[in-house]
C-alpha cells in the first residue's frame, strides 16, 4: 500500500535530474525526502542544498524540522543559504520546491494573506524564498490539499510569480525560470507551452478526473490521453521507510 505522501515524494524526486543543483526549504518534509530519494536512486550527482545550511548530508533518518540538526550529519560542507541564493541569482540552481496557500491557473502563488493585504482576513506565514526565487529559477510547487480554497480563479496577493497573466508575459517581463510542475495529493499538473495555463499531466491511481475538476476553482486543460501517475517502486518505498522511520512524511496530512 502506497501512501499519498510516498506517491507525492516519488513524483517530486522524479523531477530531479542527475547533476541538478536542488534546494529544499523550511517546513518542506516531502521535498527533503524526495531529495534524499533522488540522490540515492536516479540522481547520484545531484547537489542537495537545504535549510540546515549543508550540502549532501547523509542522515540515518530525517528530522521533523527540515532545518534540524539531523540534516547536518555526514554533510560535505556547510553553506549559508545566502550563498545558495547567490548561486540562484547566477542561474546556477536548477530547482527549488515551494508551497502555496493559493494558486491560480498560471501558477502564481499566494503565501501572504487571505483578503485585503492591509487588513487581512488571514495573515499567512509569508513566502520565505518564494518572491525572490520564483522570478529567476525553475520551481516545483507541491500542494498536499488540492481543493477549491487553494486552486482559485483569482489570488488575493501574488507572493510567487508564476506565468503572471499567461502567454508570453513572463518572458516579456524578463523573468527567468518559472513553475515546471504542480504536484498535489490528487494529480501532477504542468503548464501548456503556449497559453501557460495549467494542464493535467497525470492523475494519481484511484483518483477520478471528476474529483480533480471539482476540487479546482478554474478550468484545467485536460489532455487527450490522460496518464496515471507512476507508482514508486518497491525499492523506493523501502528507502523511504528506512530514511523516515518516524513518518515525518505524513505531517502535512495528519496532526502530530
Amino acid at each position: 500500500m502506497v501512501s499519498i505522501a510516498e506517491l507525492m515524494i516519488t513524483c517530486m524526486a522524479r523531477e530531479i535530474a542527475d547533476g541538478d543543483m536542488v534546494l529544499q526549504g523550511l517546513y518542506s518534509p516531502m521535498p527533503m525526502i524526495a531529495c534524499l530519494l533522488a540522490k540515492n536512486f536516479h540522481a547520484p550527482n545531484m547537489v542537495y542544498f537545504n535549510t540546515a545550511d549543508t550540502i549532501d548530508p547523509e542522515p540515518d533518518f530525517v528530522p521533523f524540522s527540515t532545518a534540524g540538526p539531523k540534516l547536518e550529519e555526514r554533510a560535505v560542507a556547510y553553506i549559508p543559504l545566502s550563498d545558495v541564493f547567490d548561486l540562484a541569482q547566477r542561474k546556477k540552481i536548477d530547482l527549488i520546491f515551494l508551497g502555496a496557500a493559493q494558486i491560480d491557473r498560471y501558477g502564481n502563488t499566494n503565501l501572504s494573506v487571505i483578503g485585503d493585504y492591509k487588513k487581512p482576513k488571514v495573515r499567512l506565514p509569508g513566502g520565505a524564498a518564494t518572491a525572490h526565487l520564483c522570478a529567476i529559477i525553475p520551481t516545483i510547487i507541491w500542494i498536499p490539499n488540492h481543493n477549491r480554497r487553494v486552486f482559485v480563479e483569482k489570488l488575493d496577493f501574488i507572493t510567487g510569480q508564476g506565468y503572471l497573466k499567461g502567454g508570453q508575459e513572463r518572458k516579456i517581463k524578463g523573468l527567468d525560470g518559472g513553475p515546471k510542475k504542480v504536484i498535489t495529493n490528487l494529480c501532477v499538473l504542468n503548464f501548456d507551452e503556449e497559453t501557460k495555463k495549467m494542464r493535467i499531466e497525470s492523475i494519481h491511481p484511484g483518483v477520478e478526473l471528476k474529483e480533480v475538476i471539482e476540487n479546482t476553482g478554474f478550468d484545467l486543460i485536460i489532455p487527450e490521453n490522460l496518464k496515471v501517475t507512476k507508482l514508486p517502486t518497491e525499492r523506493e518505498l523501502k528507502f523511504i521507510e528506512k530514511i523516515d522511520p518516524h513518518k515525518v512524511r505524513n505531517i502535512e496530512f495528519t496532526k502530530r
Partner: protein
C-alpha cells in the same frame, strides 16, 4: 554577565533587533524570554524564517514592526500571535523574501545604504514593500531591485562555545547568525560552553564570530530551548506543540507566558 544585565544594558525600547536561528533551530530563546520579562517595547524585529521566538515577542507586546520572510510554527500551525496582531493591525508589516532580508543585513554589514538584487520582479511583495525600489545598473542598464539596508541596533544569538572575551565558535549551520553579528551595532550571545582562551588561540580557524563583534556574552546552557542546538540537543517538539495549542487564544498565551517565561528562573 547574566541574562538580566545583558538585556537590561544592551536592548533599549524602540531598538531594531535581529534574531538568530532558523525555524525551531538555535533561536536565542533565553534572551527572548528575558526581553519579555524586562517588558521591552516598540522593538523592530528582524529575521529570515522565524517561529516561536518572533511569535512570543509579538504576543508579549514587545514589537512595533516585523521584518520577515516567513513566520510559522511549521507542522504545529500558524504563529497565532503574529497572525492576530497583524490582522488587528497592531504590528507593522515589513514583508520580505529570504534573500531580501539577507541583502538588507548584508548592506548593513558592509556599511552601505542599499544592495541591488536580481529577483522579486512582478511579486506583490515588491509592490507593497517601500524598502525595495526598482533601479537600473549604471553600467549595463540591467533591471534590478534595490533593497534598503536594515541596521540592527542589537543582534541576539545563541551559539555553542566562546572564550571569555567573546570569540564565538559555532559548529552548526551559520544561518544569519554571523551576518547579524557583523551587521548589528551591538551583539548579545548566549553559549552552551565557555572555553579557555588557549583553546581559541590554538585553532583560530574555528572562531566564527570574533570578539570584535560581540558586546555581551552570557554562559547559558540550553539557552536555545525549546529550539534545537545542533550537537547539544534537538528541538523540544512536545513543548512547541504545547505552545502552539496554548496560543490559539490570547488567554492561553498569557497562561503560557506566566508559566514558562515570567515564573521561569534563568
Amino acid at each position: 554577565m547574566d541574562l538580566k544585565e545583558a538585556i537590561g544594558r544592551f536592548v533599549q525600547n524602540g531598538d531594531t533587533v535581529a534574531i538568530g536561528g532558523c525555524g525551531r533551530n538555535r533561536s536565542p530563546m533565553a534572551l527572548i524570554r528575558e526581553v519579555i520579562r524586562q517588558n521591552k517595547r516598540d522593538l523592530h524585529i528582524v529575521g529570515r524564517e522565524k517561529g516561536m521566538d518572533f511569535d512570543m515577542l509579538i504576543g508579549a507586546n514587545c514589537v512595533r514592526k516585523v521584518s520577515f520572510a516567513m513566520v510559522s510554527l511549521e507542522e504545529f500551525g500558524l504563529a497565532m500571535n503574529f497572525r492576530r496582531k497583524i490582522e488587528k493591525r497592531e504590528v507593522e508589516v515589513d514583508e520580505h523574501a529570504c534573500y531580501s532580508i539577507i541583502s538588507a543585513l548584508r548592506a548593513a554589514k558592509m556599511g552601505i545604504p542599499f544592495l541591488p538584487i536580481g529577483g522579486m520582479f512582478e511579486s506583490d511583495v515588491l509592490k507593497v514593500n517601500k524598502n525595495m525600489k526598482e533601479i537600473n545598473c549604471p553600467f549595463t542598464g540591467q533591471h534590478l531591485v534595490a533593497v534598503k539596508a536594515i541596521k540592527p541596533d542589537v543582534a541576539l544569538i545563541h551559539a555553542h562555545g566562546a572564550d571569555r572575551y567573546g570569540n564565538i565558535i559555532t559548529v552548526g549551520p551559520p544561518f544569519e547568525d554571523v551576518l547579524m553579528a557583523q551587521a548589528a551595532e551591538r551583539t548579545i550571545v548566549t553559549v552552551e560552553e565557555i572555553l579557555s582562551s588557549e583553546e581559541i588561540r590554538k585553532n583560530p580557524y574555528l572562531t566564527t564570530i570574533p570578539y570584535i563583534y560581540v558586546t555581551a556574552l552570557v554562559h547559558k546552557p540550553e539557552g536555545a530551548w525549546p529550539t534545537s542546538c545542533d550537537v547539544f540537543y534537538d528541538s523540544d517538539d512536545e513543548h512547541i506543540k504545547l505552545y502552539a495549542q496554548a496560543t490559539k487564544t490570547e488567554e492561553g498565551f498569557k497562561e503560557y507566558l506566566d508559566k514558562y517565561c515570567f515564573e521561569k528562573e534563568e
